[in-house]
């Protein structure tokens, strides 16, 4: 007879019946009853009414029964806190049982009962168990400290458990050490209770060789958080952990890779030691690709990071990423990504023939991605572009709808990288015009027609056919169409006179979309005011698109490499982006008391913004316009703004690949020298501003109650003292602002208030066109002069300082 029988009783007075059985004198019957209760609990029935009766069964010498009762307790104690106290006596007694199994069981279960009142009773037994003679009990007690800390951190400190846990780190038993370090790492995440020092690291490295596979993971993860004092220590740790790369458990391997990747960065890059070490890294990672598919997936997401950080490690291993027919789709997609990253001149022909093979498979998403990959290869490896274009043409001949659409999109990108090189294929594209039904493909095609309007005889007819259904089109397509028609008009004024008027009026008069309207107005005014200037603006030479369009931003990559093997490395997002702020670990309290208020304020805001940003957290390198979009609405980290920024940045990504933007980009750059002095970037919004047109940038309005300011007032030093300088604080972290980092503080010099900022560019592109907007605030401060730093190259930083005056106009009344 199997356990499943316990699930099958559904007579009316079931609870009543169970109650009787639980109170039966016969041991067997009692146990059967408890099993039935647990079965009911398992299927989600509420059996909390039986609480006192089940707890009565607790005092038994039958371990199996005891375990079941404990299980019940853990589930229902929270809903019956008062009754749970009844169980305390038995717990305390069990903690002194001669059988270590029972002692451990009691202390383990007690820690899982998350009832405030019980925690007090837990302290004494726990303290005893931490010094138990049996390692099985000690290892369980070590974890229990983490449980207690999770409920009541102060209690753990006050009762001296931190010191006891510290002792367990030197325990003779490796399993105890491993659990102690797991508990410690977890507690340290919230606030540092025990600093990991080199002495402790030594103990851990010794235990590493002896503990279970999971223990090894705990230890390695703890080591990942340690920064060695000098090169010798770094090297020593590397040497002692690298044998772990040969462990059969994938988690041990990846955690080892994590620690090594971090430590490698701390040593001189060209040393022999590093060369040897990086050589050791590739084979284990390749082996992970023979693991279970889910683990393969995690490995591939991590390899994606490693390939970006250190391209050399896996550059010879292209073939192992070739897709197998039976790979799950999520593995296939990740492999494709890595293949493109590893594509180089010497392996491109292999890659291309593989991609072509994939493009004829049946899974639509996979095929699409493969076609896109071909385009990316063309852009990345110039010598292969000819063959890529040829391959794309062949694919277009297949007339498979989604393949054609995807091919059109990537060919547009190829044109943007190699202008005027492959126009011969345009005719083939035009043949497929009517099969395009996706906005992105339509927009791309329209861009191509506009861009090469002078070489396509019937460009006017083609565009006209699109204009017919102007209002039914997606905004992306509408914007594109507007630009393409204007281009056509400027290139061949004869054929497009009426068309351009029609489009302009459609865009400006019949549309509710502000972006479309604004762009229409700009073109209109430009065309009517100075056609020559319009030509310069619209037909200007466009910047070429860059090779790698989806690299992670360096500071984010840096952060993610430290999280190899974890969720963050799978999502490619910093942990703060997906961890609930309410439950997020409390930050360490800033040691400078005066800065306390400020820093906690900033922290709250960053936590909120992280959660609000959610999925739109930055994962790709920002295009220029995104950075500036951010800057425009940057409000020194006030919560509402960052939420804005997130949404706004997201909206921008949608359109950033469109060619039409380029036209607007050109606008600022060439024709309006007045506007370009400040706005050297080619950003649509800046240009719009320069033209005096209404901008669609949401101007955030809220008080800039930054920490520094608050302190100037809060600390009372506002009137009297002079020359008090607070250290600069992080106002905007690079990982959340597409690579721009701002640190700043407020100072008083000679009775005047200055804001000092250090702006650092951690992105891979230059940042320029800075503008500072200081919103209405409760202090009525406005800057005297505009911020005007020169463009910042990657990895450069610059100090700026400017004066503030009080202006009642800028006073924000709360």
């Amino acid at each position: 007879m199997t356990d499943s029988k316990y699930f099958t009783t559904t007579k009316k007075g079931e609870i009543f019946e169970l109650k009787n059985e639980l109170n039966s004198d016969k041991k067997e019957k009692k146990k059967e009853a408890v099993k039935k209760v647990i079965a009911s609990m398992t299927v989600g029935k509420d059996v909390s009414a039986l609480f006192p009766d089940v707890v009565n069964c607790m005092q038994t010498d039958n371990v199996e029964l005891k375990k079941l009762v404990y299980l019940y307790l853990m589930n229902y104690a929270k809903s019956q806190p008062d009754l749970a106290i009844m169980a305390v006596n038995t717990f305390v007694k069990d903690c002194e049982d001669p059988n270590p199994l029972i002692r451990a069981l009691a202390v383990r279960t007690m820690g899982c009962i998350r009832v405030e009142k019980i925690t007090e009773y837990l302290c004494d037994p726990l303290r005893r168990c931490m010094k138990d003679e049996d390692p099985y009990v000690r290892k369980t007690a070590a974890v229990c400290v983490a449980k207690l800390h999770d409920m009541n951190p102060t209690l753990v400190k006050d009762q001296g458990f931190v010191e006891l846990l510290n002792d367990l780190l030197s325990d003779a038993n490796p399993m105890v050490v491993a659990n102690a370090v797991a508990a410690l790492t977890e507690m340290n995440e919230q606030q540092t209770v025990i600093e990991v020092n080199s002495q402790m690291v030594n103990k851990l490295l010794t235990a590493l060789n002896e503990c279970t596979e999971w223990g090894q993971v705990f230890i390695l993860d703890a080591l990942a958080g340690y920064t060695p004092r000098d090169e010798r220590e770094t090297q020593n740790i590397c040497e002692r952990i690298s044998p772990r790369l040969a462990h059969a458990n994938a988690a041990v391997v990846l955690s080892t890779v994590k620690v090594l990747m971090k430590l490698i960065d701390m040593m001189p890059a060209d040393s022999d030691f590093i060369t040897q070490l990086t050589k050791k890294l590739a084979p284990p990672m390749v082996t992970l690709l023979s693991a279970e598919p889910e683990i393969q997936y995690v490995a591939l997401r991590n390899i994606n990071l490693i390939v970006q950080k250190r391209p050399d490690i896996l550059k010879q291993e292209m073939k192992v990423f070739f897709v197998k027919y039976n790979d799950p789709i999520y593995v296939k997609m990740e492999k494709l990504d890595i293949m493109i990253r590893l594509a180089q001149q010497n392996n491109i022909s292999q890659v291309l023939s593989e991609l072509k093979e994939y493009a004829t498979e049946v899974d639509v998403d996979f095929v699409r991605k493969s076609v896109r990959a071909i385009g990316r290869c063309a852009i990345k490896v110039e010598t292969s572009s000819e063959r890529c274009v040829q391959t794309l043409l062949e694919l277009i001949q297949t007339k498979v709808n989604y393949v054609v659409q995807e091919a059109v999109v990537v060919i547009k990108d190829i044109f943007r990288k190699y202008p005027n090189r492959y126009e011969s294929i345009i005719s083939a594209l035009c043949e497929n015009l009517d099969t395009l039904d996706e906005p992105e493909a339509r927009a791309s095609m329209i861009w191509i027609i506009g861009e090469y309007a002078e070489r396509i005889d019937n460009a006017d007819e083609l565009l006209e056919s699109f204009v017919e259904g102007f209002h039914d089109e997606n905004t992306q397509v509408q914007l594109q169409l507007l630009t393409a028609v204007v281009k056509l008009f400027l290139k061949r004024p004869g054929v497009a006179q009426t068309l351009v008027q029609r489009v302009l009026s459609l865009a400006t008069q019949d549309s509710d979309n502000p972006d479309l309207r604004d762009r229409g107005f700009i073109y209109w005014r430009l065309l009517s005011a100075d056609p020559a200037a319009a030509k310069n603006v619209v037909l200007t030479e466009k910047p070429l698109i860059s090779e790698e369009t989806d690299l992670l931003e360096p500071s984010l990559l840096e952060q993610l490499v430290c999280h190899i093997g974890t969720l963050a490395s799978v999502y490619h997002k910093p942990p703060s982006a997906f961890i609930d702020p309410a439950k997020a670990p409390l930050r360490q309290i800033n040691p400078i008391p005066t800065a306390k208020f400020g820093s906690s304020l900033l922290d709250t805001s960053s936590a909120t913004s992280a959660s609000r940003n959610g999925s739109s957290a930055p994962t790709v390198i920002p295009s220029q316009d995104q950075v500036i979009a951010d800057l425009l609405s940057l409000d020194l980290n006030a919560p509402a703004t960052s939420a804005n920024t997130g949404g706004f940045g997201g909206a921008m990504t949608g359109t950033s690949s469109m060619g039409g933007l380029d036209d607007l980009l050109g606008l600022g750059g060439d024709s309006l020298p007045a506007a370009t002095t400040n706005v050297s970037s080619n950003n649509p919004f800046d240009s719009l501003a320069g033209l005096g047109m209404p901008s669609s940038v949401p101007a955030a309005q809220q008080p800039a109650s930054i920490g520094g300011l608050a302190e100037i007032f809060g600390s009372g030093s506002f009137g009297g003292s002079t020359g008090v300088t607070y250290p600069k604080e992080m106002w905007l972290d690079a990982s959340r602002a597409m690579g721009m980092q701002v640190e700043g503080t407020f100072v008083r010099r000679n009775g005047k208030i200055f804001m000092e900022m250090t702006i650092t560019n951690k992105a891979m592109q230059a940042i320029s066109g800075f503008a500072l907007q200081f919103n209405k605030n409760s202090f009525g401060l406005i800057p005297v002069e505009q911020l005007n730093p020169s463009p910042l190259l990657p990895n450069q930083s610059q100090n700026v300082s400017f004066q503030f005056i009080f202006s009642s106009d800028n006073l924000f009344f709360i």
Binding site: V43, N173, A246, A248, P284
Partner: protein
């Protein structure tokens, strides 16, 4: 940092068993799991990690159940996935087939195991042989309550003391799986050997074992560079092997667990001639018929023989009325996998066999486009390793000084052995 809760779900997403380890996740969030998974599958982005609000699900699917871990901090996903697979392994040691029904049938012991294998989300003891010593399905029959075996917390956490055998024996199986991927035009795109050394150990006491292989690194180090040796690209060991020892002098030394286990696995990418090579010539007359000429060649030494060779040739799913002609083996049409299988019980090296096949196609073409599955080949070649790896010695030292005999067996078989079709 760790798992907050574990769930075992049936295919419809209904919870069979759940265990809340940390009390910080919403236990009802799991109800959304299956809908979420379906949505993602629809989008084509189903990955083994899902997010619902602030809960992250990390999961694997096994037979007709899902094992799901719910967590809400930046957990070590690799560790969780390995742990879930370990759970399946342990459960199957307890009650063989791990599936919906057996989970329900054994829920009491599963609760016990979940309690022992993980504490507060941290994986603990997961060695099934050790667990079986103190978590028994018939716990009530024991007169005195069991105590935790020493091994649970020992440095040797995989073997208990006091094991006794009358006859001390060790069996070693060296199994090499050949993974190969060939393109439609006959070039080998990828070829690797994944080897595995499996052991069955029936030894008394706490024996110390040392395994000697013809490892190239070792041979070169000891000046025997000339003798035949194998360069292992990557080696993975069972946790019983002393990794730091291997790292310093390439010695494989260990105290083995009792019974069967995988001691090590290795991988090497040597360019070898594909052991069995298939050439196809296909004539497609759409709307009427398709004919195949299949040539199978064995490209290994004449004195070896491949057994149970199965050549699986995919055909269009709407094909019918198959006709086959061959001089050897048998052919079976298996419409359920849209293929026919050519089975040759014994295929000596250096031979070549032919098969011709004709199938009819319906005059109406199906609308759905089909994928192009590759040709697959299954085989086993005993007494043979592709890499040339050899066990040179297996030393067994136990303090009682008994003599034990090691038995070694070699076999090469197919791994993912695929040839794309035109």
């Amino acid at each position: 940092m760790a798992t907050s809760a574990m769930f075992i779900l049936d295919l419809k997403g209904k919870t069979i068993i759940s265990r809340n380890y940390r009390g910080d996740v919403d236990m009802t969030a799991i109800d959304k799991f299956i809908t979420l998974l379906m949505e993602k599958e629809e989008e084509g982005s189903a990955a083994p990690v899902l997010t619902y609000q602030d809960t992250n699900f990390v999961f694997i699917k096994h037979t007709n159940i899902y094992l799901v871990s719910a967590c809400r901090s930046n957990v070590n996903v690799t560790m969780i996935l390995s742990f879930l697979y370990k759970c399946v392994e342990v459960f199957s040691e307890y009650f063989k087939d791990v599936e919906e029904e057996s989970i329900r049938d054994n829920f009491v012991v599963i609760y016990e195991l979940l309690d022992e294998m993980m504490d507060f989300g941290f994986p603990q003891t997961t060695e099934s042989r050790i667990l079986q010593e103190y978590i028994t399905q018939e716990g009530q029959k024991l007169v005195s309550a069991p105590r935790p075996p020493m091994a649970v917390t020992n440095a040797v956490s995989w073997r208990s003391e006091g094991i006794k055998y009358r006859k001390n024996e060790v069996f070693l199986d060296v199994i090499e799986s050949v993974n190969m991927l060939a393109s439609a035009n006959g070039t080998v795109l990828q070829s690797e050997i994944v080897g595995s050394v499996k052991m069955r150990v029936y030894l008394t006491g706490m024996p110390e074992l040392r395994l000697g292989l013809n490892d190239k690194v070792l041979f070169e180090g000891s000046g025997r560079g000339k003798s035949k040796s194998v360069e292992l690209e990557d080696v993975k060991f069972h946790q019983c092997v002393r990794l730091s020892r291997f790292d310093t002098d390439r010695t494989i030394s260990f105290i083995p667990p009792d019974g069967a286990f995988e001691l090590m696995s290795y991988r090497l990418t040597t360019v070898v001639k594909p052991l069995i090579w298939i050439e196809t010539s296909i004539e497609r007359h759409s709307h009427s018929r398709v004919s195949f000429i299949i040539k199978a060649k064995s490209q290994f030494k004449r004195r070896s023989t491949a057994n149970n060779v199965e050549i699986i040739i995919p055909v269009p799913s709407d094909a019918d009325s198959p006709k086959f002609k061959t001089s050897i083996g048998s052919v079976k049409y298996t419409p359920e996998q849209s293929a026919f299988v050519w089975t040759i019980k014994s295929f000596p090296g250096g031979k070549e066999y032919l098969l011709t096949a004709h199938l009819s196609l319906p005059s109406v073409m199906s609308e759905e486009s089909e994928g192009r599955p590759p040709i697959k080949v299954k085989f086993e070649i005993p007494y043979f390793t592709t890499s040339g790896i050899q066990v040179r010695y297996l030393k067994i030292i136990e303090k009682s000084g008994y003599q034990a005999l090691p038995w070694v067996r070699y076999i090469t078989q197919n791994g993912e052995y695929e040839m794309r079709m035109k």
